[in-house]
């Protein structure tokens, strides 16, 4: 019968019209008075008394609260996390990069009785303006020094500012993604809530105890 298929189609669209929206608001979400009060951490009456202008805004529908985008812990973000104490300047990441955008300059550093000769990192630049975030550099790192980051809000007006330098990597909060780092998943590390402050926690092996270190480096020699 002509028209039956069409009416069935309209039934489907009506059903979809009534289901909750899947649109995710980003970066801000409009909230009413109750939502704004909740975001400020007080109940609506307190909020009305203490912040009258903000409450008026909220009642008028102008108040917004920032929204965190739902991300997977393995998300390959727009930045990198780098633990300088773990890096030996072996340049595996630079060799493994398909685009050759990691620049490493290292000079021979101190000679340590325990660890032998070490290299000091002079330059460690990642040009993320050309990076495609494939993660091969992270996969190549034998010492778990370089990790993918989880953030993605790193847009800039000038192309040169897209180069991540050594200093920026040192100072950035350490929120590594668990991409190619199964130890983070085993430890239940959540990059969106916590940071890694001790570089020993970033490795794929357990941190050796002081006795182990003494046995290895003092007693056995």
């Amino acid at each position: 019968m002509i028209g039956l298929g069409l009416s069935r189609g309209f039934a489907v669209t009506l059903k979809n019209f009534l289901r909750p929206a899947v649109t995710e608001q980003y970066p801000d979400r409009h909230v009413g008075l109750i939502g704004a009060a909740k975001a400020a951490g007080m109940n609506p009456f307190q909020f009305l008394v203490k912040k009258p202008t903000d409450s008026l805004k909220a009642i008028a529908g102008l108040a917004t609260v920032p929204v965190a985008v739902k991300q997977s812990p393995r998300f390959r973000g727009n930045e990198f996390t780098f633990f300088e104490d773990r890096c030996t300047a072996c340049a595996s990441c630079a060799k493994y990069c398909p685009l050759g955008i990691i620049e490493i300059v290292s000079v021979p550093g101190k000679i340590d009785a325990q660890e032998g000769e070490s290299y000091k990192l002079e330059v460690f630049d990642i040009d993320i303006g050309r990076c495609m975030f494939c993660g091969l550099c992270v996969e190549a790192c034998p010492y778990d020094a370089l990790h993918m980051g989880t953030g993605f809000e790193r847009s800039k007006y000038v192309r040169d500012e897209l180069i991540i330098t050594k200093e920026e990597l040192f100072d950035a909060p350490k929120r590594p993604s668990s991409f190619y780092r199964p130890q983070f998943e085993e430890n239940g590390f959540d990059p969106f809530k916590e940071t890694i402050d001790d570089h020993h926690d970033a490795g794929r092996h357990e941190r050796p105890s002081d006795e182990d270190l003494k046995r290895k480096w003092v007693d056995e020699r």
Binding site: V22, F75, E139
Partner: protein, 370 residues
């Protein structure tokens, strides 16, 4: 007295929303009828095959993502199969199961995009496309859980995949498969019985079976004409010989048949993924670096491996000269070869059917131009 009209040449594209990328057609119309079509492509040429000649075998995986950007996992799979054949790598069983799951999910995503955009070309502005995209978004979320990226996955490595699926992936996959089936049912309710879709797509751009075979057309376009040709069944790669599925065939070989085959194939993909979940075995997802080093040096020779991609036979031909990078890489891009019958499909048709026919080929300009 017959009214005489003069043929008019119209330039369509390259920047046109209905050309699925940057595709240009010079079409000659006589009134509403199409007299001549001259396809012009190459606007998205990035030289992937040449770039591959100076990259190592693992690094090329990232290039294959960008060829057919709505089915990156399938590109990865075809390329990795070629590398494994060339270097004689024995893949890890769990890695193979995982990449089968990933590529079947990608096939569903690709078919949903194809269906959504076909309906968009028909003039159903928005609704079917948004419904299809909403479901694809769930699949992309699953990919983000697996490998951290949504479109340019680079998930596969020679010998398997780079990382095992996280624990939260399996329940999410189970939920996702149910959602996909619901969406496909919904899609069929409002499209497969729709009179407007019938009148616009049935009987348009009919291609004879012999012509399709002679032009080496593969994929849903060929199966819509009734030729039972599916590489997953004819020449099973990976573990496709251990799963059972129905081959979807239609005999009409018109635009509706091509649409119908794609929609039904998503159900078969769900069936395959369910069997993969049942049969997946624990173990390593890739061979150790002692067996398959990061820098692969295959022996001198060549290898061709093909898979049943979302658009047809997707093959990678690799020639090795014994170094760390291939001497030559060639891609049998299914979109490009399916496009060769464009003139036969369009000439003699109506202006209104032009984009519908074009959309029913399900081509991707990233793959056509590479």
């Amino acid at each position: 007295m017959a009214i005489k009209t003069q043929p008019v040449t119209v330039n369509l594209g390259p920047q046109h929303p209905s050309t699925h990328g940057v595709f240009r057609m010079r079409v000659m119309f006589d009134g509403e009828e199409i007299v001549d079509v001259e396809p012009v492509f190459g606007y998205l040429h990035r030289g992937s095959e040449k770039l591959a000649e100076e990259r190592t075998y693992t690094q090329i995986v990232t290039l294959t993502d960008r060829m057919d950007y709505v089915s990156s996992m399938l590109n990865n799979q075809a390329y990795i199969l070629a590398v494994e054949k060339l270097a004689g790598i024995e893949p890890s069983p769990r890695g193979v199961w995982l990449r089968m799951i990933a590529s079947e999910l990608q096939r569903i995503a690709s078919h949903l995009v194809a269906t959504g955009f076909l309906l968009q070309d028909l003039g159903a502005l928005g609704t079917p496309l948004i419904y299809a995209m909403r479901e694809r978004e769930n699949i992309l979320d699953l990919f983000e859980m697996l490998c951290g990226a949504r479109i340019t996955n680079s998930y596969l490595r020679p010998g398997g995949v780079f990382m095992d699926a996280p624990a939260e992936f399996w329940p999410a996959l189970d939920r996702g498969l149910g959602d996909i089936l619901n969406t496909v049912d919904e899609l069929e309710t409002y499209l497969s019985g729709n009179e407007i879709v019938f009148s616009r797509t049935k009987g348009t751009a009919v291609l004879p079976k012999e012509l399709l075979i002679n032009a080496s057309i593969t994929g849903p376009m060929l199966r819509a004409s009734g030729v039972d040709w599916d590489l997953r069944h004819r020449a099973p790669y990976d573990y496709y010989d251990r799963v059972s599925f129905d081959r979807i065939l239609h005999t009409a070989s018109d635009n509706y048949a091509r649409y119908w085959v794609r929609v039904q194939e998503t159900r078969e993909s769900v069936k395959i993924i369910r069997q993969c979940i049942e049969q997946i075995e624990p173990g390593d997802v890739r061979p150790s670096f002692d067996e398959v080093p990061r820098l692969i040096r295959p022996p001198v020779g060549d290898a061709y491996a093909a898979i049943e991609g979302s658009k047809g036979e997707l093959g990678f031909y690799l020639v090795s000269d014994g170094s760390i990078a291939p001497y030559r890489m060639h891609v049998r891009a299914s979109s490009l070869i399916n496009l060769t019958l464009l003139r036969d499909m369009l000439i003699g048709g109506q202006f209104g059917d032009l984009f519908v026919t074009f959309g029913s080929v399900d081509l991707n300009m990233g793959e056509v131009d590479r």
